[in-house]
Amino acid sequence: MELHGIGVRFGGLVALEDVTLTATRGHVLGIIGPNGAGKTTLFNVLCGLIAPSSGSMTLDGKPLKPKPHQLTRLGVARTLQGVGLFPGMTALENVMAGATGSAGFLSALLGLPSSARSERVLRESARARLDEFGIAAYEKAYPATLPYAVGKKVALARALVTRPRYLLLDEPAGGLSEEEIAELATLIRTLRGTCTVLLVEHHMDLVMEVCDEVTVLDFGRVIASGAPQEIRDNPAVADAYLGVAA
């Protein structure tokens, strides 16, 4: 996945300017920067929620003009800041909604066998994901009753149930305890190799631990990019970000 010279303007405000970055296949790319640096805007551009005013993107070497509802077909999944689950649906149904089955409307309405089968496959793969994350016990629970960390896992399971080749994680560690963050780090590491992960995160230890490369945004511009250690030692980054954080 490559971005070339992406720019986004909201009226007079420059949200992103000339952002170029490459997510290497199977790597974990961290995207960090102070609040308002444009990290989530970048994700929204990648998802087609915001049209960039300049620049271009490619996915697997092909030009990418993303439309949100076609993302899963392209193998791209995303989690949102916070939890973002469907409130009136159980944990299992939430995960199933991520793996929208291909059963046609008419066959589903008539309850044809093919639809019942795909329905069952959908349910089983969703259940398997919950089981993998050790939260199968919550499958019938509604989001409002879930502990925060479990809700986050359900959201992650929902994103992963399509077996995406690209996963965009928007602040997955937000609101989690140290122990839960360690669990998250383990999970991200297991994805490495099979899935290209773009990780927007404020939790520096997590970023430094799991990322292969890190790109730093500040006021919508890329100010540094490289291996985690290089970023840590980069004085410009310390000024813009770590300095502010400290």
Partner: protein, 292 residues
């Protein structure tokens, strides 16, 4: 006692129709946060389509199929052609547009078919069958129950057991998130309107022969009553709409039987008022609290 039994069955038969119509209102409310005030007029238009087809072919069932198909097509048309372009900035916008649709449809039907009542036949006898010497319900009442039950079961299956239903619910709860998960939110919305309008059309087909007959305003009072039923049920709850419809059917039947039919419309509003005062979130608000 005989009278009570008769009124109970009669009330349930009317209530079943209110249930189906209320269910249609709830479907659109859940999908789009719009109370479709045009639903009565849209359903009447579908019933006129049935009338035209039945008159031409002599077959009630071809007419019934035409009402269902025509109703769904009208639902798609209204959503794609009108509601999609209505601004969501204020809830009143959609209400005004829907009321405009009511006037347009009813005036159009009046111009095409005239403003007199047209008698409509039923496929089954409306003579009440005696059970133990008490005339309880007719074959047609049984047909009404069966038709409404079919609608309710099909919709329940669709929403709880199919991925299409799951996508429709997801799209209603959080359109943006659903879009990111690959759900065609616009398509789901159109489907919701089509299903609701189809259910509304069937309800009109069921109730119009039991009243004065086909007329551009034939569904006006049914709409008010069903809207009340939907509010009683909590507006957000499909089971609530069904129970609300049946309850209201019973209450109105007892009122009309014991106090006189002129009191019935007032009783509908009194029931609405009572629910809004005592339990404004509706009787079936549990599911709503769960969503919070």
């Amino acid at each position: 006692m005989e009278r009570f039994a008769f009124l109970t069955f009669d009330g349930l038969a009317n209530g079943a129709v209110y249930s189906a119509f209320a269910l249609a209102l709830v479907l659109i409310w859940r999908a789009a946060r719009i109370v479709n005030f045009a639903q009565g007029a849209m359903a009447v238009a579908a019933a006129y389509a049935a009338y035209a087809v039945t008159s031409a072919t002599g077959s009630y069932w071809l007419g019934f199929a035409a009402a269902l198909a025509g109703g769904m097509a009208l639902g798609v048309l209204v959503e794609r052609g009108v509601m999609r372009f209505t601004s969501h900035s204020a809830p009143l916008n959609q209400v005004i547009v829907a009321l405009g649709l009511v006037l347009t449809i009813q005036a159009g039907l009046g111009m095409l078919y005239g403003n007199e009542f047209r008698p409509v036949g039923t496929p089954f006898s409306r003579d009440a069958i005696d059970v133990g010497g008490v005339p309880l319900l007719s074959q047609y009442d049984v047909f009404v129950f069966a038709a409404v039950l079919t609608i309710v079961l099909l919709l329940a299956l669709l929403f709880t057991k199919t991925s299409t239903g799951l996508r429709m619910r997801a799209a209603a709860f959080a359109p943006e998130v659903s879009r990111l998960l690959g759900v065609n939110v616009g398509g789901m919305l159109t489907l919701g309107w089509a299903l609701a309008a189809g259910a509304g059309a069937v309800a009109a087909m069921l109730v119009i022969p039991t009243e004065l007959g086909l007329h551009p305003h034939a569904m006006d009072l049914v709409f008010v009553t069903s809207f009340t039923a939907a509010v009683i049920g909590g507006l957000d709850s499909p089971p609530g709409a069904v129970v609300g419809g049946l309850l209201l059917g019973l209450v109105l039947s007892y009122v009309s039987g014991y106090l006189g039919s002129s009191v019935t419309p007032i009783a509908a509003f009194a029931a609405l008022l009572a629910v809004l005062l005592a339990r404004p979130q509706g009787l079936f608000a549990a599911s709503k609290a769960r969503q919070a």
